[in-house]
């Protein structure tokens, strides 16, 4: 059947498949489809940079144009991963510079990127278009200058939330005068002032510019100049939103905003002064995304602004909005889908604002499309959580942080098991959950029983025993990422559910009770997992086997042991025959051996692999095995 269509036709058909899941399925149909598909796959997503090696990827997919990759575990955002842990992108850039001269896009998250890498990118890829560095670090503005100067067709340069060593603002002036291709520029994380005239000229000569996120150093008085040059902007991040209160500044700003009829997203607003907010009222009716999380504006002014934004879908705001502000939000913004409320004083023991669980309850009542929540507060009750769950059964992401660890239901002083239980029971589509407050093993039983679509779970200071962890690992069928800190989970649940870990991207456990002995056993018996112990107290074998490790990071991989582990990370090694060197050869041999021996049973192998590695980023792994069977 496959021979009745020429390859070009099949390739054309496959070009309509964008999802990795679909492409992976297609590649398993037969040998020729596998071959055709691998030559025409253009986009690769790698959820964990250590799950696979550059060589393996390049060998299988020779014509990649876009790479998206993530490095450090999520808890690195909160300083739980020590400096020097890893996540270096340079080996990938080096390998791709030789293999993918036509590469156009690189999107990285939580990776270490150096100026050397940026220079290599700028030199190697003639048609480079998109660079997104999200929460990355390790580079300076010199590296940015290379990108600006050499990437002739650059469309996107987005540095969101990265830590950049800011040597000077001069990098922006490296964009050549004939660069007119920019569509998106996000420099909001940088500190230094760029040359305003260079910025102005850049903006003026890029007619397709849709997204412009300025940094704090761009003064408010100058914003109208930019808006006039780019009235087609769809997303704007202002610089500092404060200036001397002068009527001319205000009127210039008002006029400039009125010209921007396409604006849908606003962010920035550092040091925002309420007096200048009315300047943007003319665009509010079109705004769907509003990020006020840097604006220390108080509730009444926030309410005035937000009530103008009738079409708001996403709001990020500080807890200055308070319960009254959230009530007003619930009344005005019926299209709201995502709400994030950040704490203005995260370390203060007492509340500094009148924001409680009531605010979230109001929004859950008033906003029928609410599906994504991140909420920091200082008190919560089971009753409130039950109400929220019943109001919004279509919730997809629910992240609640009660600032005091192990805080009970403030009304009944009971654990919040019932409340979170109601969330997972009612919200059947829930994909992401972060919990806080006083929680016993009971809540994990609810999660294991009900949260069947849950993909990512974050737990802190919760549970009583291994039973809690066991419920999660044995019950949550769709679980991909599990991150745990400061919970009394030990060896038993982990070892009893070792196989589950191969179906997940990763597991993080810090300040728990997993012993060194258990980590060793896990590493020995599970060759397709990297079991890494992070311990800054020194080698784990200098302490008794029963001693708990500081931090444990377990992830599935076909690349074997990584070659870049720092001194405080130890890989728990297996059997000599199965332990891998950095090149990742050994595990592949095992896979090949198994494959050829059981070639007749390839159907079985297929069903085995598909069942044990159902998720996207492991399908590449699965297909590696397949390849050898078709030899």
């Amino acid at each position: 059947m496959a021979y009745s269509f020429p390859e070009e036709v099949l390739e054309h058909v496959f070009s309509f498949l964008s999802s990795d899941r679909d492409r992976n399925a297609v590649s398993l149909v037969c040998k020729s489809w596998y071959e055709i598909e691998r030559w025409c796959r253009r986009r690769i997503f790698i959820g964990n940079c250590y799950a696979v090696s550059p060589d393996i990827v390049i060998r299988r997919f020779p014509e990649v144009r876009a790479l998206e990759m993530k490095g450090k575990p999520h808890f690195a955002d909160f300083n739980l991963v020590p400096e020097g842990w890893g996540g270096y992108v340079h080996p990938w850039i080096r390998a791709m510079s030789a293999a993918y001269p036509l590469l156009e896009e690189i999107k990285l998250k939580r990776m270490v990127v150096t100026d050397e890498s940026l220079e290599l990118i700028a030199r190697s890829f003639k048609n480079f278009k998109v660079l997104v560095l999200s929460s990355c670090e390790g580079f300076t503005t010199d590296g940015l200058a290379s990108i600006a100067a050499n990437c002739r067709n650059l469309r996107e340069l987005d540095l969101r939330e990265s830590e950049v060593e800011d040597l000077s603002g001069h990098w922006l002036s490296h964009f050549p005068d004939n660069c007119t291709s920019l569509v998106s520029l996000n420099m909001s994380c940088l500190g230094s002032e760029v040359s305003f005239s260079a910025l102005e000229r850049l903006v003026a000569r890029c007619p397709n510019l849709r997204t412009l996120r300025l940094n704090r150093a761009v003064p408010l008085e100058k914003l109208p100049n930019l808006l006039h040059r780019a009235p087609q902007l769809v997303e704007l991040g202002t610089g500092a939103y404060s200036a001397e209160i002068r009527s001319d500044i205000f009127s210039n700003l008002t006029e400039a905003f009125s010209v921007c009829k396409q604006l849908k997203g606003l962010s920035g607003f550092w040091d925002a002064i309420p007096a200048f907010l009315p300047a943007m009222y003319s665009v509010c009716s079109g705004i769907t995304s509003l990020n006020l999380s840097y604006a220390t504006i108080q509730s009444p002014d926030l309410v005035k602004l937000v009530s103008q934004c009738r079409n708001l879908q996403r709001l990020w705001v500080l807890d200055y909005i308070e319960d009254t502000g959230l009530e007003a939000l619930a009344a005005s913004c019926k299209d709201l889908q995502e709400l994030r409320v950040f704490p203005s004083d995260p370390f203060g023991a007492e509340p500094n604002v009148a924001l409680t669980e009531q605010g979230l309850v109001s929004v859950s009542e008033g906003c029928p499309k609410l599906q994504s929540v991140l909420y920091f507060c200082r008190q919560m009750s089971n009753a409130a959580l039950v109400t929220i769950a019943r109001n919004r059964p279509e919730m997809i992401r629910f992240r609640l942080c009660i600032i005091e660890p192990q805080a009970p239901d403030y009304l009944t002083l009971e654990p919040l098991d019932t409340g979170f239980g109601a969330i997972v029971e009612n919200c059947k589509e829930l994909r992401r959950l972060s919990m806080s407050g006083l929680l016993t093993d009971k809540v994990f039983e609810y999660i294991g029983n009900h949260a069947k679509k849950l993909e990512m779970l974050s737990i802190a200071f919760a549970g009583d025993s291994d039973l809690g962890l066991h419920h999660v690992l044995s019950g949550c069928e769709s679980l991909r990422k599990l991150e745990i800190r400061d919970c009394p989970f030990g060896d038993k649940a982990l070892l009893a559910n070792a196989a589950k870990l191969e179906t997940m991207r990763s597991l993080w456990m810090s300040s728990c009770s997993v012993s060194f002995g258990a980590c060793k056993l896990l590493g020995q018996k599970m060759p397709r997992l990297n079991v890494e112990v992070i311990d800054e107290r020194g080698p784990p074998d200098s302490r008794p086997e029963s001693c708990p490790v500081e931090k444990l990071y377990v992830y599935r991989t076909v690349a074997g042991r990584r070659a870049d582990m720092p001194g405080f990370v130890w890989k728990m090694d297996g059997d000599k025959a199965l332990s891998a060197d950095g090149s990742g050869n050994k595990p592949r041999e095992v896979v090949e051996r198994l494959g050829s021996s059981y070639a007749i049973n390839f159907c079985t192998w297929l069903s085995y692999s598909l069942q044990s590695v159902p998720n996207t980023d492991a399908r590449i792994i699965t297909c590696m095995g397949q390849r050898n069977l078709f030899c």
Partner: protein
């Protein structure tokens, strides 16, 4: 309870069925047989668990032991400097903490300007004061001190010693530490006074030799 660290083929343990039933039957399989044996049986997807989960025993006996191990573990832990300081909690990214506190102080000043309609900071000292909590190691009740009225570390330390009166004689044996905007505890004195004043969130006098 005895740990049963076996490598038994289990097609059902991940699906929550009672492992006790299957336990005996599977005892005899070796690791290789279990692993490679999967090839022969359709629909047996999982590799073996490294421990058989025994529901009855786990629920009853272990809570006590678990808590004990946990407490032991807590005492070994890095990164926990004192009771009220936890690394990475609340889970807020560091650049969020920084901007916020910076802005709050500026905001106070700006608010004053708007009200008065002039550039001057005439709104009164109240809005510009910088009270931070101070604790002394070994003293139950903390104090608050206004950093904005001091001009150097010396005057601040003198004020603190005066506040915690009875320790005057032992001034040498204490050192001043502070918590910065990222939640880290640092020794005071390394940075210029102005920078210190803007970064310090709370202070603690700690005994030397800590």
């Amino acid at each position: 309870m005895e740990l049963q660290l076996e490598l038994a083929l289990s097609s059902s343990s991940a699906r929550g069925s009672d492992p006790n039933q299957d336990c005996e039957r599977r005892r005899k399989r070796s690791f290789d047989a279990a692993f490679l044996g999967i090839m022969g049986s359709v629909g047996a997807p999982q590799t073996s668990p490294l421990l058989i989960w025994d529901d009855k025993e786990q629920i009853n006996g272990e809570l006590h032991d678990q808590k004990r191990i946990y407490d032991l573990a807590t005492s070994n832990r890095n990164g926990r400097v004192e009771d009220d300081v936890l690394v990475g909690w609340p889970p807020v990214k560091s650049w969020r903490k920084q901007f916020r506190h910076h802005s709050r102080r500026d905001c106070a000043t700006n608010y004053v300007d708007v009200e008065n309609g002039s550039g001057g900071g005439g709104g009164g000292r109240g809005l510009n004061s910088m009270y931070v909590k101070v604790k002394m190691e070994g003293v139950g009740i903390g104090r608050k001190v206004d950093l904005s009225i001091h001009r150097s570390y010396q005057t601040l330390i003198a004020k603190l010693i005066a506040m915690f009166g009875k320790f005057e004689d032992n001034a040498e044996t204490y050192k001043l530490t502070y918590q910065d905007m990222e939640g880290d505890w640092l020794l005071a004195g390394d940075m210029p006074w102005e920078t210190f004043v803007h970064s310090a969130q709370r202070l603690k006098l700690q005994k030397n030799g800590y």
